[in-house]
Amino acid sequence: MEQLQVTDLQVEFGGLRAVDGLSFSVQEGEILCLLGPNGAGKSTTLDLICGKTQPTDGSIQLNGVEISQMLEFRRARLGIGRKFQVPSVYKNLTVDENLSVARSRRPGMWNALTRLSLTDAREAASILDRVNLGAKRHEMAGNLSHGETQWLEIAMLIAQDSKLILMDEPTAGMTIQETERTAEIFRSLSDNHTLIVVEHDMSFVRTVADRIIVMNRGAMLAEGTIEEIEANEDVKTAYLGH
């Protein structure tokens, strides 16, 4: 079943069309990778889906519900999670507290008022072991290294447990081993989550992607499996500029 259906999506920033007539759909449990040169509109597409940016035209449907005009927190409640390109964790909170904030299955105020701040983090403690942060639970997130910060944000998204997770360059700044571990986690996530990943690391894309969409100048250039994309002439032209 189609989980996400994007139709004729368009957004303009002062005359510049960052996304122009983009249409695609994502199946449940699929890992879709968005590729494309700088400025192709990949991050903007994720922004439009999660509600950071409002589209000027087009529709976005999540499980058949139109969400393109909804406020971002309502979309999050419907099951959309987002990891940003610049790792955005709460630097002045501890790792545990970050996890507790992320675990937002019941985001209402009554629930927040009747729970202690770390109750949710205790329930989600196993996630930290999964990303090798178990020993740093009481550390301030601001004291973590760049790679660890990336891990923490991934852990937060696992804790949030959204059905559809949007990842913007999750492996940026990671070592080869860390990237491999991330790929492993992504594969296991796809059992009951759908992922849309923007990534430049081709070996990573090769391991995780079920399907690839290549974007150029805000529109879709090609779509298919990794082999089809690698054989595509248009893609070569867009990247190499011939």
């Binding site: 999660c50 509600g51 950071k52 406020l71 971002e72 927190f73 999050a76 409640r77 999670g81 987002r82 955005s88 709460y90 630097k91 002045n92 909170l93 545990d96 507290e97 507790s100 904030v101 992320a102 937002s104 985001p107 105020m109 629930n111 927040a112 008022l113 009747t114 729970r115 202690l116 701040s117 770390l118 109750t119 949710d120 949030q160």
Partner: protein
């Protein structure tokens, strides 16, 4: 339970013991001194209320004095009605013939106590909804609340027949609570105010360590990120504003009982700024520290104005400047930083001894 929660609970217990037993003993159970200290305790509640919205949620409310004044006037209206037969005296001077409808329900003490909490909460919430739904943040919150405070005070003073205008409400009766006549110079009254402060602080400590407090801290740091986790940021901010306003109203009611009059100066800009200073000196991140700051600054003010009749304002001003320059997080920040420093030194020393004697 986190270690920070434990520290806060210990601080709260020490605070409660000192206020309940230590202070009266030092004051020699003298009625006048106890009344003066009860005044500081009432102000500590409003300072602690500000620390909830400012320290935890990062919303600097410069209109805190307005909600404080609402509570104060609610109590004063009740006591004024009790002191007069029928029409309060100042209404006669202003050619008001019958008791205005706004005053009628204040005959009842229950209504008065509820109004002193709920009216500030409602008005604070109303402003908050407009601000936070429009995603106003940072310094603009301070500007809007300050503007509201100025407008509210002007409106209040202008309605002389209703509010007593510039003179405020004086000549009040004493409150009688379950048949107990509250004498503001008694030990019983001191205990009432101290009890209120401790209850308010316990509530505040719980709130800051609940998930609600955690979400507020997350919102302070990055409101957008919190939205992407599904939290309705505006409603969280509105609720903390309401709670803070209700606590300020509560403090205002106690303040009227202490001083036995209500004055529009309680809603002045300078009073509102004073609350911010108390909160900053104590440390806005902790409710107990903010309450402590209010008590310390007010005691200092009292002592300094006794000793240096001429220049005490200047001395106090210099102290504030020094606090802002060298202790930006207040007394609380100074304490928690030094605790962390000691811990770090101890940890590195432990590691070093392990390295030197690997077999031990």
């Amino acid at each position: 339970m986190s270690s920070k929660f434990q520290y806060d609970l210990v601080a709260l217990v020490i605070f409660a013991l000192v206020v309940a037993f230590g202070v009266p003993a030092v004051m020699n159970y003298d009625g006048f001194e106890l009344n003066t200290f009860a005044r500081y305790l009432a102000l500590a509640i409003v300072s602690m209320a500000l620390s909830l919205s400012w320290g935890t949620a990062g919303l600097l409310n410069l209109g805190q004095a307005a909600t404080f004044g609402m509570g104060s006037y609610a109590m004063a209206m009740h006591l004024k009605l009790r002191a007069s037969d029928g029409l309060p005296d100042f209404m006669g001077w202003n050619n008001v013939e019958t008791l205005p409808w706004l005053w009628v329900p204040f005959e009842s003490l229950t209504f008065t106590l509820l109004a002193g909490l709920l009216v500030p909460a409602f008005i604070g919430g109303l402003i908050a909804i407009f601000m936070f739904r429009a995603r106003i943040a940072g310094v603009f919150v301070a500007i809007i609340t300050l503007a509201f405070l100025v407008a509210f005070q002007l409106l209040f003073i202008n309605q002389q027949g209703l509010t007593g205008g510039q003179n405020g409400l004086t000549g009040l009766a004493q409150m009688s609570l379950f048949g107990w006549t509250v004498d503001p110079y008694s030990m019983g009254f001191y205990n009432l105010v101290a009890g209120c402060l401790v209850v308010a602080l316990a509530f505040g400590v719980y709130l800051t360590h609940s998930k609600f407090g955690l979400i507020l801290r997350a919102i302070r740091e990055d409101a957008d990120r919190a939205r992407f986790f599904g939290y309705n940021v505006a409603s969280y901010q509105t609720l903390v504003f309401c709670i803070s306003a209700a606590l300020a109203g509560w403090a205002g009611m106690l303040y009227t009982l202490v001083l036995e009059f209500a004055s529009p100066t309680y809603m002045s800009v300078s009073f509102s700024l004073a609350i911010v200073i108390w909160c900053a000196v104590g440390g806005r991140e902790s409710v107990s520290a903010a309450a402590f700051g209010a008590i310390v600054v007010n005691m200092l003010e009292g002592r300094l104005s006794d000793v240096f009749v001429e220049g005490w304002h200047l001395i106090l001003g210099v102290i504030f400047v020094l606090v802002v320059m060298f202790m930006p997080r207040g007394i609380y920040g100074l304490l928690s930083d030094s605790v962390q420093k000691i811990r770090r030194i101890r940890r590195t020393r432990d590691q070093r001894s392990v390295e030197t004697f690997p077999n031990t």
